[in-house]
Amino acid sequence: MSLTLAERLLSGDRRALSRALTLVENRQPGYEELLRKLAQKVGQARRIGITGPPGVGKSTLATALACEWRRLGESVGVLAIDPSSRATGGALLGDRIRMAALSGDPKAFIRSAACREGTGAIADASGDLLDVLDAAGFSRLILETVGAGQSEGRVRDQVDIVLVVLGPGAGDGVQAMKAGILEIADFWVINKCDDPAAERVLSDLMNVLSISKGEDVLKERVRLVSASTGHGIPDLVQQIERLGSSSEFATNPAAEVEGRMVRRVLAIAASELASALQSEEALRERVRSATMGLVSAKTVALEVLSSAVLRLKASEGVKK
């Protein structure tokens, strides 16, 4: 089944691509085999992450950038992530509504996904979804996500270039943003520059950044745009392309791909360990002993490791 799906995807079948994204997102049987079959084709796309507070115009910016890349002859895949409700597990995925400019374009593909963090899903699948879009042949991938919770660090790991988007009217302003979000940016993009309040955002941002960044960096990397009118967009894309091709950047795409695979392998290992711990009362009893100082946390950790290995061996035995 997965073999046929992979072949169809690689030949340009968009239905197959869509089905593959679902298979991978839901970790359905066969998804690992599918990813393995696609692995060799992963690494040719340039990945751009767009993050920032809600209401700042990320989807509109993603669309404007995508249209510019299309104008330049690139093909674009967009993965737009919205939060899931922790209470109900459902989600309203409303980013697509702003991306009408890309509809009908055979070299653009938009997929909306719910960030299922905290709703029982073990690991974040967005890296794998990007790999699928990468293998499908899009030359530019845009990952759009809300800068909240643990997602910022992940964005940094999953893409080549990070845009942190700011703008007027988006909450308490620059000072309220966690230092971590601003730090991960390759570009700080102030949207809605036609709004007079954007000036304030710019000066606040400069105040915060000038402590640690030189003037020439700020000149190059702080961009004023209006995603809705297009002002500053071609410039921004040009700067992104320059950075992406520069020697300061990863000259070794294989190393990037390998780094991502290391993180994926570790994430899978972590979830196997979590399963082992969750399903064995004896191990949870050991955890309780550790809280009382009767045994060290490290000892318990090694016991969890042994248990996970035994479970894997047992399940392999059952398969054979």
Partner: protein, 138 residues
């Protein structure tokens, strides 16, 4: 783990009355579904293109303009052409019962008139999607 139900909610054509569609979208989200809300002024092509890319289980159309026969039929035709024959097409708005029956006879799912409790729609979607999934061939 049973997979999330993905629903596309759209308003095709020139109709501007979106309050019902928004209420339904939120109700489906609160029922644990993932709702892709594409909003107003969608052409049948845009709707089906989105449904394909998002790999939805359900397309829900909201039509208050009177053009429902034409719009539902266009969407069904596009769905067939794009290989989305196993996706449930449902919806509601201002649609006479006789037209609902006609569309159902042509392959459309149940349609819901104004004032239908959202729980009816949620129940229907869950049942239909479950039975379609168990019959699905890759």
């Amino acid at each position: 783990m049973s997979e999330k139900i993905r629903v596309l909610v759209a308003k095709p054509g020139l109709d501007g009355h979106d309050r019902g569609a928004k209420i339904v979208a939120l109700a489906l989200r609160d029922a644990g579904m993932e709702v892709i809300y594409t909003g107003l002024h969608q052409t049948p092509q845009m709707i089906v293109e989105a449904a394909l890319q998002e790999d939805v289980d359900v397309i829900g159309l909201s039509v208050h303009s009177g053009a429902h026969l034409q719009l539902f039929r266009e969407v069904m035709a596009q769905m067939k052409a794009s290989g989305l024959g196993d996706v449930l097409l449902t919806g509601g708005g201002i649609i006479p019962k006789s037209d609902m029956a006609a569309l159902q006879a042509e392959g459309c799912g149940r349609l819901f008139g104004p004032g239908t409790p959202t729980s009816d729609l949620i129940h229907y979607i869950r049942e239909e999607v479950a039975s379609r999934r168990s019959g699905r061939i890759e």
